[in-house]
Symmetry: C2
DNA sequence: ACCTAGTCGATCAAGTTGGTCGGGATTATA
DNA sequence: TATAATCCCGACCAACTTGATCGACTAGGT
């Protein structure tokens, strides 16, 4: 039912890097502070996202992380699937678990599960990090429209 | 992301009792066998559903469980909420967890979470046990239309 | 009285979650 | 080349949840 904390952290971290896209590396500590994520745990998460090709890192002084994908082409769904595995309300919809279902083929719930999965994927796969960044910028303009005056 | 095994068992058990609605008590062992649920575990689950007023039990010889609600008025959503708690992709949408969110008020993800929750609830709250029973009966007619000849 | 079934509380192994820690490797800059 | 900043890596860990199992007990019908 719920997304793991780790997955939410991964999304928030990616989002933060999307905000800083094109501005050079961002330190783990900065991401951690901005997004209220435990720093040591974030190290683990960013390392994983790096394996997946979502982010890239620069070591040493002046180092940090950058988003390694164009935010306008990177969806929330991709990140969730990478961290959590296939999207869906039950495990028996994908992979080998599907074959092991004792009710294989005659499970009345399956159409409902599929309906839910499709609805959820629809949302996650049509939300890009760019969308979120723009949404936040729009909100900031609304609540502090004259910050530059 | 996923519904717990327990919740799926609860749904399958309720569904089975809905199939037998109006035909007297069904033994735990029968439900367990029909729905491929570990019997001892099912005891626990049915006990819980009884507390929630979803089912009723009759002890002694010829005893068993019956659905204590009209299947046409009992939705999947009700059962899921009873077993799993509030529906939604993240914990910080309901109750006290909402207040504890470090990003309270300015979380860009919240509208997306709400969208997902609404879509999922839409499906679960509009599927009754009666719907599922009828769907299965229709399927059986399709695959074995002449079983009574 | 006796059999059948539900009931209740304790218990439990294994896996997942959500982290933490120490120290090592790498790089920019002075 | 020293140094400070920064990421990197594997090990470790406590707490919780999941998915059960067991034995003994209680209630009901015949």
């Amino acid at each position: 039912m719920l997304l793991s904390q780790k997955c939410q952290y991964a999304l928030r971290a990616s989002f933060h890097l999307a905000k800083c896209y094109g501005q050079g590396p961002v330190r783990i500590a900065d991401v951690a502070e901005a997004q209220a994520i435990p720093k040591r745990f974030l190290e683990v998460i960013l390392g994983q996202l790096k394996q997946g090709g979502f982010v890239a890192s620069h070591r040493g002084n002046e180092g940090g992380y950058v988003l390694d994908r164009d935010p306008s082409g990177l969806t929330v769904g991709e990140i969730i699937r990478f961290v959590e595995g296939p999207i869906g309300p039950v495990g028996c919809m994908a992979g080998d678990a599907k074959e092991n279902c004792p009710l294989r083929g005659r499970c009345v719930f399956m159409p409902m599960w599929e309906q839910v999965r499709d609805q959820v994927e629809e949302v996650y796969d049509n939300t890009t990090l760019q969308d979120l960044v723009e949404k936040e910028r729009a909100q900031e303009r609304q609540f502090a429209p004259d910050y530059a005056i």
